[in-house]
């Protein structure tokens, strides 16, 4: 699975996710990646999110929109919202995976509860690629 969240010069946020899904899947199984609110979400007022992991759990929780909603209705910061959803809500269900997210001010979070996540960021002052 691959994903991206971008913030443009007009302050607009967009998010996207693309995947081959789960290896050896059967019966037309679909994970969270194509499901808006689960694997992908974007709202200029809060943040953009793209997810990767055990899709069944990401769908049931509605991970991407849960992070945005904690900011919109719970007045949490992106960091607080992302860390709760991954490290408490998902981990509490033994669900493995990660998220990338960025808010309207360009703050970003790359949070995962697996041994690794291919990830990276680039802005006007910094850029980095990470694996573990």
């Amino acid at each position: 699975t691959v994903g991206c969240v971008a913030l443009d010069k007009d302050g607009n946020i967009a998010a996207g996710t693309s995947t081959g899904g789960m290896m050896n899947k059967k019966y037309g199984r679909i994970g969270d990646s194509p499901i808006i609110g689960a694997g992908t979400y974007a709202d200029n007022e809060t943040c953009g999110v793209s997810c990767t992991g055990h899709g069944e759990y990401f769908i049931r929780i509605g991970v991407a929109k849960e992070i945005s909603d904690q900011m919109k209705f719970g007045k949490k910061t992106l960091k607080e919202a992302a860390e709760y959803t991954v490290n408490e809500h998902l981990s509490g269900m033994n669900a493995q995976g990660g998220i990338i997210a960025m808010d309207k001010d360009g703050n970003f979070e790359l949070v995962f509860n697996t041994p690794g996540m291919y990830r990276g960021y680039k802005n006007a002052t910094d850029e980095k690629v990470m694996i573990y």
Binding site: S18, N24, N44, Y121
Partner: protein, 172 residues
């Protein structure tokens, strides 16, 4: 607002001993190339949606990631791809699920968002829509790579016998 971009290439058990130095270099380079491509769109005044499409298209074309070329295989040895995109400025969104011959699923998702009244199209209908909209269509085998084929072969070794399926099997 200063433009910015974040990306991922999947999370999971990335076993260090399985990630050779050369493969790690390929992956790091691909991630950096994707960041550069998306950021260049933003720097040139492009929209966030344009940047997301450019970045993910590049990652779909990189065989090292489970998306587009290099996607994992289903139990019967085919590829079924999914993608979605969302615009935070108007909460417009597009998605395709279970497509088999659309070369760029993220481009198909964006086309659904921009050129249809729907959010998600699935299976043959999504393929038909992509074809009608002039998107590039490929044979399903386009997405197969030697590495993916080898993993699939290994997980189906002993098929038909009472040998337990490999650890990849998550099905009763």
């Amino acid at each position: 607002n200063r433009p910015a971009i974040v990306i991922h290439g999947g999370a999971g058990t990335i076993e260090r001993h399985l990630l050779s130095d050369s493969l790690e270099t390929i992956i790091r380079t691909a991630l950096q190339d994707a960041l550069n491509a998306g950021y260049a769109v933003l720097e040139n005044g492009g929209t966030a949606v344009d940047a997301v499409e450019a970045t993910i298209t590049l990652l779909e074309n990189c065989p090292e990631f489970n998306a587009g070329k290099g996607a994992v295989m289903t139990d019967v040895g085919t590829h079924e791809l999914d993608a979605s995109i969302m615009d935070g400025s108007d909460l417009n969104a597009g998605a395709v699920a279970g497509v088999k011959t659309v070369k760029s699923p993220i481009l198909a998702a964006r086309t659904v968002m921009v050129r249809s009244p729907h959010v998600m199209l699935a299976g043959e209908g999504a393929e038909e829509f992509a074809k009608q909209e002039g998107l590039e269509m490929v044979d399903n085998t386009y997405f197969t790579t030697p590495r993916i084929q080898k993993r699939w072969d290994e997980s189906h070794k002993g098929e038909g016998s009472n040998v337990p399926k490999s650890k990849f099997s998550k099905f009763g």
